[in-house]
Symmetry: C2
Subunit: 420 residues, 2 copies
C-alpha cells in the first residue's frame, strides 16, 4: 500500500510553523507497513489544492490531507474538495449536534461559522471528531482513497488513532517489513561507513541501510522487505548483529530509542538517581529527560543556576572558584556537579556551563566554549567543547553530549555495554 501526505496552509510555506503533523502521520503509516512516497505542503489556494489532489489520483492508494478545515475564511479545503469530487456540501445533523454540545459544555455562544463546521462533502464517510468541531472526511475517486483531517495536531492524532488506522490495518498484507535499529555514539558518519563498508556491500537487495545522524549520535536503520516474513526478519537481524559486533564500544542500543529514554530505563533498572545543574543549557537537558513518562523514578529534579549568585546559593560553588576561574571553567562545573549530587543525594549529577552565544565571548573563552561535568559514584569526568556561534545548536549539542558523557560513565561504573 502506498500513500501521499498533503498539508494545506500558507503557514508552513512561509515557515511560520514546522510540519510536525506529517512527521507523525508518516511514523504511524510506516509502523502499519504503508509506504509514504511523498509529503507535500501546498498553499491554501483553490488551484494548488486541485492540482495536488489530482496529481495523487491513481498514483497511490491513499492520500492523507490535513489543514484548511477551520472556521475562518482562509480555510477553503472543503469547498475546493467539493469541486474536485464534483459534489456539494451538506450539513450533517450528527456533527451539528456534537458541535452544539461542544459549545454548550464550554458555556460558549455558537456562531454561524461554527455551525458551518458541520458541513461535509456529500457522499463522504464522516470521521467523527470527538476533540474538536471539524470532522474528518473519507472520499474515494477511482483507485485512490482521500482522507481529510483537521490540522490541529491532537485532533488529527485522535482521528488517526481511533478511526483511520484501524480501517487501514484491516487489509491483508503480502509484503512483510522488518527493521533493526542501532544507536551509535562517539563516531562520525564517515568513519562509521568506512568501518562497516564490507558489511554494507554484502547486503542483499532486499535490505536497505540508512544513516540517520543527529548532532551527536547516528542511528543505523536496516530495513528488510520480503514475502517470507520469517526469512526477512532473520536476515535483517543477522546483518544488524554483524554491524553491532564490528562497532562494539560505540553501540549504545540495539533497538530504536533515544539516548534519554535509554538512560532512564537503565537508571531505573539499576535503581540509580540523577540530578541536573544547568547553566548554559538553561533547563533544556532537564526538559529532555522529563519529556519521558516515568522519569520521576530516577530523576529527583534539578537546578538552573543561571546567575553566579544562584550557582553559590543552590549548589555551594565557592566564590573563590568563580573569581579565579570564572563561571565557564572546569573547576566550576566540577563544583556544580559534585555540589548537586551531594545536596540532592543522588548517584549521578550532570552540570553544564558555557557561552551559548551570540554575545558574551572573550578572547580566552570565545562564544561556543562549553564545559560539562558528570559526577558519578566513583569519579567525576569533565569535558570542554568548542562550538561555533549558534545558540540553538550549542544548547542542543551540549545537552546531547552531556547525556553521552553520562552514558560513558555509566558503562564504566555499571557495565551496561551491549553484548551479543
Amino acid at each position: 500500500m502506498k500513500a501521499h501526505i498533503i498539508t494545506i496552509g500558507d503557514e508552513i510555506l512561509i515557515g511560520q510553523i514546522v510540519d510536525t503533523n506529517s512527521a507523525w502521520i508518516a511514523t504511524q503509516l510506516h509502523i502499519h507497513n504503508i509506504a509514504v512516497s511523498q509529503i507535500r505542503s501546498i498553499s491554501d489556494q483553490d488551484d494548488a489544492i486541485l492540482n495536488a489532489l489530482s496529481d495523487s489520483q491513481n498514483q497511490v492508494d491513499l492520500v492523507l490531507i490535513t489543514g484548511g478545515l477551520g472556521p475562518t475564511k482562509d480555510d477553503i479545503t472543503k469547498q475546493t474538495a467539493a469541486k474536485y469530487f464534483d459534489t456539494h456540501l451538506r450539513r450533517d445533523q450528527a456533527v451539528l449536534q456534537h458541535v452544539t454540545q461542544f459549545f454548550e459544555s464550554r458555556g460558549r455562544t455558537m456562531l454561524e461559522i461554527n455551525r458551518q463546521q458541520a458541513d461535509v462533502l456529500e457522499g463522504c464517510t464522516v470521521l467523527f471528531n470527538q476533540y474538536g468541531t471539524a470532522p474528518g472526511m473519507l472520499m474515494k475517486k477511482e483507485s485512490t482513497t482521500y482522507i481529510f483531517m483537521p490540522g490541529v495536531p491532537f485532533e488529527m492524532k485522535h482521528l488517526m488513532n481511533t478511526q483511520i488506522l484501524p480501517r487501514l490495518t484491516q487489509q491483508d498484507h503480502t509484503i512483510f517489513l522488518s527493521q533493526e535499529n542501532i544507536i551509535v555514539g562517539g563516531i562520525g558518519e564517515s568513519y562509521l561507513a568506512e568501518k562497516i563498508a564490507d558489511i554494507e556491500s554484502e547486503l542483499p537487495a532486499s535490505i536497505k541501510l540508512a544513516y540517520l545522524p543527529t548532532l551527536t549520535f547516528v542511528r543505523l536503520r536496516l530495513s528488510g522487505k520480503g514475502s517470507d516474513q520469517e526469512a526477512i526478519t532473520a536476515s535483517t537481524k543477522y546483518y544488524a548483529e554483524q554491524i553491532i559486533h564490528r562497532l562494539a564500544d560505540h553501540v549504545i542500543a540495539n533497538y530504536d530509542t533515544t539516548i534519554e529514554e535509554f538512560l532512564i530505563q537503565k537508571f531505573i533498572g539499576l535503581n540509580l538517581t540523577l540530578t541536573t545543574a544547568e547553566s548554559c543549557t538553561g533547563g533544556s537537558l532537564a526538559a529532555m529527560i522529563t519529556a519521558i513518562a516515568g522519569c520521576s523514578a530516577m530523576y529527583v529534579g534539578g537546578t538552573i543556576p543561571y546567575s553566579n549568585k544562584l550557582k553559590q546559593q543552590l549548589l555551594g560553588v565557592r566564590e573563590e572558584t568563580l573569581l579565579q576561574y570564572g563561571a565557564v571553567s572546569e573547576q566550576t562545573v566540577i563544583e556544580m556537579a559534585e555540589g548537586a549530587k551531594k545536596k540532592f543525594d543522588t548517584n549521578y549529577a550532570i552540570s553544564t556551563s558555557g557561552i551559548a552565544g551570540p554575545g558574551g565571548g572573550t578572547i580566552d573563552k570565545p562564544v561556543g566554549t562549553v564545559w560539562v561535568a558528570v559526577a558519578g559514584e566513583r569519579e567525576t569526568i569533565t569535558q570542554k567543547f568548542q562550538f561555533q556561534n549558534d545558540r540553538t545548536i550549542n544548547i542542543e549539542r551540549t545537552r546531547q553530549l552531556a547525556l553521552f558523557m553520562l552514558w560513558q560513565l555509566l558503562v564504566k561504573e555499571h557495565q551496561i555495554g551491549i553484548s551479543l
Copy 2:
C-alpha cells in the same frame, strides 16, 4: 519570484525526523519576498528525484534542494542530478583541499568516501561549504535555477546566509510585500474571527488575513501585496490598527514575536527579574526563556523540584502543605512561587505542578490536572487547568499558559498593554 523546496531522504517520509530545514528556508525566502508555492519531501530514489526536479522545471524560478549529499551509499542526489542535467561529476580541487584541511585540522584520517565529497556537477557554480565537507551547487536548466545543499541544518543555514540569499536579493523587485502581525491571547479562533468579521469582509483583494493559532495564542497576519510600496504599507497598517482597536485587551503585541521574547524585552525594559520553579513542566519553561539570547539580564535561573523532597529543600514548601493538599494543589504552587521569589530575590516567579501523564492520575486529580501560580510584586495569581492525557501537549500548554498568566499580571502591575 517563485520557489519550490525539495527535501530528499527517507528519514522524513518514515517520520524519523521532522522537516525543520524547509521551515527555516521558507522563512528566509518569505523575508526576501520570494513566494514558496510548494514544499515537497521525496524518497532518495533515482526516479523520485528525477520526477521532482522535472516537475519544477519552468514552473518556478528557483528550486532549493536539501539532502542526499553525504558520504554514504544512500546519498545519491549528486549522481541523479548529473543524469537530470545531462552532465557528469568532476572532482573540484579547491573543495578537495578544503576537505583535506577539514580532516587534518581535526586529526582525522581521510577516507576515499570523504574525497568523493569534492565531486561536483560539471558546469555548476560551486557554493563553498566552510562548515562541512559537502559543497552546495547551483545549476540552471531553461528558466529555472536549481540549488543543491547538504541536509545538515547548520551547514545548510551557513550556505543560505553567506552564498545563496545574497545572490537572490541582487534582483530588483517590482512587487512589494507588506506584513503586519498581531499576537492575541485568551480568546479562541472562532470568537476572534466573529469579533473582526466586518473588518475582514472589508479587506481589499490586495490584503490577505491569516489566523495562525498555537495551543494558547493566535497570530493574526495581514499580508499586503502591490506595486506601490507606500500605498500597500499604509493600507496594511490601517487594517492592522482596526483589528488591534477591536481586540483591545487580548492584544499582546502588534509585531511578529513570541510570548517569551515579548516578556523578556518588557522585563529588561522595566528592570525586573524572574525565576521559575517547575515541577510538571520539568525545565521546559526555563528552556523556552533561555533559548532567547540576552535573557540573563532578567532571568536569574530557576529550579526543577520534581520530587516532594526538593520542593521543600529548594523552595521551602511546608511538609504539612504537601501532606494535606498534595503536590498538585493551589496551596503548593503558591508556596513554590512565593518561596522561589523570596529565596532568589526576584520581582516575579512562576511555578507549575501537575499530572502530565500518561500515568499518575487519581479520581480527584485525573491526568491533565495542572496548577500554575505567578507571584508578582503585589499579588500572587493562580489557575487550575484540566487537560487531556497527552504528556507532550500538557507540558506545552502549561508552559504557554504560565507565560500568558505572567503577561496578565505584568499588564496589571506595570500597564504594558498595547495602546494606539
